[in-house]
Amino acid sequence: MILRVLSRLSAGVVTLACVYAITFVMVVAIPGNPFQSGERKMSPEVEQALRARYHMDNNWAYFGEYLAGAIRLDFGPSYTYNDWTCNQIIASALPVSMLVGLLAILIAVMVGVPIGVLSAVRRDSWLDATTLALVMVGISMPTFVVGSALLTVFAVHLHWFPVGGWGTLAHLPLPAITLSLPFIAYIARLTRVGMLDALGSDFIRTAVAKGLSTRVVVWRHAFQVAFLPVLSYLGPATAQALTGSFAVEKVFGVPGLGQHFVNAALNRDAGLILGCVLVFAALLIVLNMLIDALYAWIDPRISGAV
């Protein structure tokens, strides 16, 4: 068991290293540089000095410095936010994104799973058809449109929530709900298929035949099997939700990590790009490991696979 965990961990570290190297190559390969994104044109001497200061004139030294930094979990200074180090930016933005993301995933599971189960049990009813339609629309609406619509209706017109700013509990629900919508849609779909599959199998017929109540059959027998695909979807989904969404953060003015992903890439802010990517990849790896452990716990048939 310990050996298995260790081998998974080392595979994770190798993956992280590869992700890091690929990102670095892309950052160096793209044209343009972080110092030219400002309004004032920089004189060549100044730019040269800046590039030398950050070892950008020599890609190997540049890579070496960043790698050494990354191993110490220090991503260096940010090129665009002059007074901040990348670590400070990530440390201030990540908790915000994680809070919103965690809430979104919780909402998604708590809403998506019952919808999926219900529409599988009441298959081909109007309830099923309505849910199907809603789920389709949920998947097909761009987040920035949903967010703006919610903001306009509930904050601007109904005054239920504050329009801008951040810091109180009242700021949380709208971004979390917006972020959760696509996840709700996917989870409902996955649950529905899993439930249909499980409800059609032999052990359910046995359970029904021996006189168990519908509730026990659905939730204790069928759902345990049907939840497994949802669980494996939850790994990547949670990693994505926890690192924030640019659209949601921009629409609601949430100071989260999602905007840094995009802005760092647009500004070629090397340290911040690498930091964000590593945070995302590490979260993804850790969450996938957790999910696999949960999987084995829920489904004893595959306990050897961890």
């Binding site: 990102t23 044209p31 449109v145 601007v156 529905r192 249909l196």
Partner: protein, 328 residues
């Protein structure tokens, strides 16, 4: 409670599929038929009163308002008739007809979706099939690469690819920035969407290779190339098409997100995402220019829903394991 083994779709679902096909076909025919006209008109600013005026079916509104650029007398009769439609869906903040931007925008979004799906399919099929056929360490390394690429946040990759490719390509095309931008857009989206395809194809090839009919072909003396072309590839068509129908709406969605970031299609060129993003910007100023957001989003949602419904129907038909893996 359940009908075990019954995977037939209800009548409602069949009606939904027919409706989707009809809607998509109608949109496609309308936008393609009017394309020669709209290509000249999508960027024409009808100044004067027309700026951001609400939808109307009164043709005089648009005729009154566009003296600065063109007068009705200058148009051929057919074009004049078409032009009366310019204010049906209102005008945007630059006085451009929403209808005339929406129609080519639909085609452009569709084109981006199809092209990225094509790239994803080619790359993914090649990668997955090679890994499965060569096997051994090559397979392990190739699939490891896919795993690593999965660990990269895709939106970051799209942005970096977009930045990296735009300038060289527009230089290559002799300064045709709009065309270069479109190409880069679907190349970038396609380049991040092939990973799942590679996994699907690899799994399919591995399972096909173990089946008796391949062994029979080999026993009958068929060459490797013949087995690949005559026996493996035809059996891959189903899952590949199924996945491609998933990629098309995804790519259209990603384009809309990139447009929201301001790095989608370049400005005068319309796409559904671009129009929706512009609309969101206009509406966020708390003024009720609702038609700027309702129409593009409406078309976007209808298109994507129809495509998803179609994709699910195709999956039922083509995917041998659809009973298990169908998502709806």
């Amino acid at each position: 409670m359940t009908r075990p083994g019954d995977t037939r779709r209800s009548g409602v679902h069949r009606a939904l599929v027919v409706l989707s096909v009809t809607v998509l076909a109608a949109l496609l025919v309308t936008s393609a038929a009017t394309l020669p006209f709209t290509l000249n008109w999508y960027d024409v600013q009808e100044l004067g009163e027309a700026v951001r005026h609400a939808p109307t079916s009164d043709p005089t509104v648009s005729f009154d308002s566009f003296e600065p650029s063109v007068s009705p007398g200058m148009l051929a009769p057919a074009a004049r008739y078409l032009h009366a439609a310019s204010s049906w869906l209102g005008h945007d903040d630059l006085g451009r007809s929403m209808l005339f931007r929406l129609l080519p925008g639909f085609l452009i979004s569709l084109g981006i979706g199809l092209a990225s799906a094509a790239i994803a399919v080619c790359l993914g099929t090649f990668w997955g099939a090679t890994a499965a056929l060569v096997g051994g360490n090559t397979d392990r390394v190739m699939m490891r690469i896919v795993d690593v690429l999965f660990g990269l946040p895709y939106i970051l990759m799209v942005i970096l690819l977009k930045i990296a490719l735009t300038r060289p390509l527009s230089a290559l095309l002799g300064g045709q920035t709009a065309v270069a931008d479109l190409i880069v857009l679907f190349v970038a989206i396609g380049a991040v969407s092939w990973l799942t395809m590679a996994r699907v194809v690899r799994g399919q090839v591995l399972s096909l290779r173990a089946q008796p009919f391949i062994e029979a072909a080999r026993a009958a003396g068929a060459s490797r190339l013949r087995i690949l072309c005559r026996h493996l590839l035809p059996n891959l068509v189903g899952p590949v098409i199924v996945y491609a129908t998933l990629v098309i709406p995804q790519a259209i969605m990603q384009e809309s997100f990139l447009s929201f970031l301001g790095i989608g299609v370049t400005q005068p060129t319309p796409s559904l995402g671009r129009l929706a993003a512009d609309g969101v910007e206009a509406v966020n100023t708390f003024v009720g220019y609702w038609w700027l957001i309702v129409y593009p989003c409406g078309v976007l949602v209808v298109t994507l829903v129809a495509m998803n419904v179609l994709g699910d129907a195709l999956r039922d038909r083509l995917d041998p394991r659809s009973q298990m893996t169908s998502l709806v």
